[in-house]
């Protein structure tokens, strides 16, 4: 009799792919993959009802290991393909898995406009503050002053917050977690997939090989310990002053609001056009 964890591995992993996976030892991508599987398993969705799309990067490897309908697409276009899938068949649960560079640099325009349109999609963004796969170049979320291969003497640009960008762009559901809080990622992905409208889950992850090593943050274990110390829940963050919140990461559901969903609005437009009887 397999345990629940074993049952999930047997059911959802593609065992004809080569395991162990390509990610470095201790990479947070594996933790997010496990959380995604547990969330889908808990929602009792069949494998045919779920579509995963991903772009390029370390995070883009994730759907290749998972036995759903998957699309491994061009760089930054995970949401674009997800939009197409959703418009073609609105009954499917579409999840776009992206990295920070994939979502906010190369696919930045797609990201903000998908949030503005409020399509009924789920976007999981794994934020490791660096372009890990290509050799450690700085990304839009690399903090000021950090060392990377393209900012050897310190990064001169400022980072932006992906979750706050999604809130401003008009997403229905925005949440943030870190890879240390793996059970929270489960719950947030589950809520995001149930949400009508564009749902963003930002997961702060560790790239100890490209980012942690150059910035003297230690290995995977040390970075996970830092996530644990830096994390502040949303309810606790409300009581803290801005000075106390400096260097902290707010985790939990940041925004959960009801907005008209474009796939449903499109149906209404079609009905209105049909009823008006105009011959266009």
């Amino acid at each position: 009799m397999p345990t629940p964890a074993q049952a999930i591995r047997h059911e959802y992993l593609r065992h004809n792919k080569k395991f162990p996976h390509v990610w470095c030892p201790g990479c947070g991508n594996g933790i997010v993959m496990g959380a995604l599987l547990r969330a889908i398993h808990h929602l009792e969705l069949s494998k045919d009802e779920v579509v995963l799309t991903s772009g390029i990067g370390c995070s883009g490897r994730m759907p290749t290991y998972l036995d759903f309908n998957t699309l491994h697409t061009t760089h930054g276009r995970a949401l674009t393909f997800a939009t197409g899938v959703k418009l073609a068949n609105p009954a499917l649960n579409v999840v776009a898995i992206m990295g920070d560079g994939d979502a906010t640099a190369i696919g930045g325009n797609h990201f903000i406009h998908a949030a503005r349109r409020n399509l009924n999609l789920t976007a999981i963004i794994i934020n490791n503050s660096i372009y890990g796969m290509t050799g450690g170049q700085y990304s839009p979320t690399t903090p000021f002053g950090a060392i990377s291969t393209t900012s050897v003497y310190g990064h001169i640009e400022h980072a932006f917050s992906i979750a706050e960008l999604a809130v401003t762009a008009g997403a229905s559901f925005v949440a943030r977690s870190t890879v240390y809080h793996a059970d929270l990622i489960d719950r947030l992905i589950e809520q995001a997939m149930q949400k009508r409208g564009f749902a963003v889950v930002e997961v702060i992850s560790n790239c100890h090989v490209q980012y942690g090593r150059r910035n003297k943050l230690g290995g995977a274990v040390d970075m996970l310990k830092q996530f644990k110390e830096q994390a502040v829940t949303v309810s606790r963050a409300e009581k803290l002053s801005p000075e106390e919140l400096e260097g902290k990461t707010t985790i939990g559901v940041l925004v959960d609001r009801e907005l008209p969903v474009s796939t449903e609005e499109y149906k209404k437009v079609r009905r209105r056009a049909h009823e008006s009887g105009d011959k266009v």
Binding site: A5, P20, W23, G26, G34, A35, D186, A220, V221
Partner: protein, 96 residues
């Protein structure tokens, strides 16, 4: 090992007096070493600190009786290499 058996003594004493729901539960932790990359997350974050290393640096369970079944290692293993299961009673003498 000696310490661990001492710790579990009070639990076995109260076993007869308290309802069966208070009985200490035992868990088995198994590692699938073919998928393990020895990242060290399970060893560092185990609340009971019962995961150690073998000569190759791979994780091994040192004292399975002290496992509290929190499943932190199972859900934080990036390589799906850890399974925590409820301990089943032994049926044969040579059962592992």
């Amino acid at each position: 090992m000696g310490k661990a058996t001492k710790k579990s003594e009070p639990v076995t004493d109260t076993k007869d007096k308290t309802p069966s729901s208070r009985k200490k539960k035992y868990f088995d932790v198994s590692f699938y070493h073919d998928w393990c990359k020895s990242c060290g997350i399970c060893m560092a974050f185990c609340p009971q600190k019962i995961i150690g290393t073998d000569s190759k640096g791979r994780p091994v369970i040192e004292d399975a009786d002290r496992c509290v079944g929190c499943r932190f290692c199972e859900i934080h293993c990036p390589d799906f290499a850890i399974t925590v299961s409820d301990r089943k009673p032994k049926r044969r003498i040579n059962d592992v």
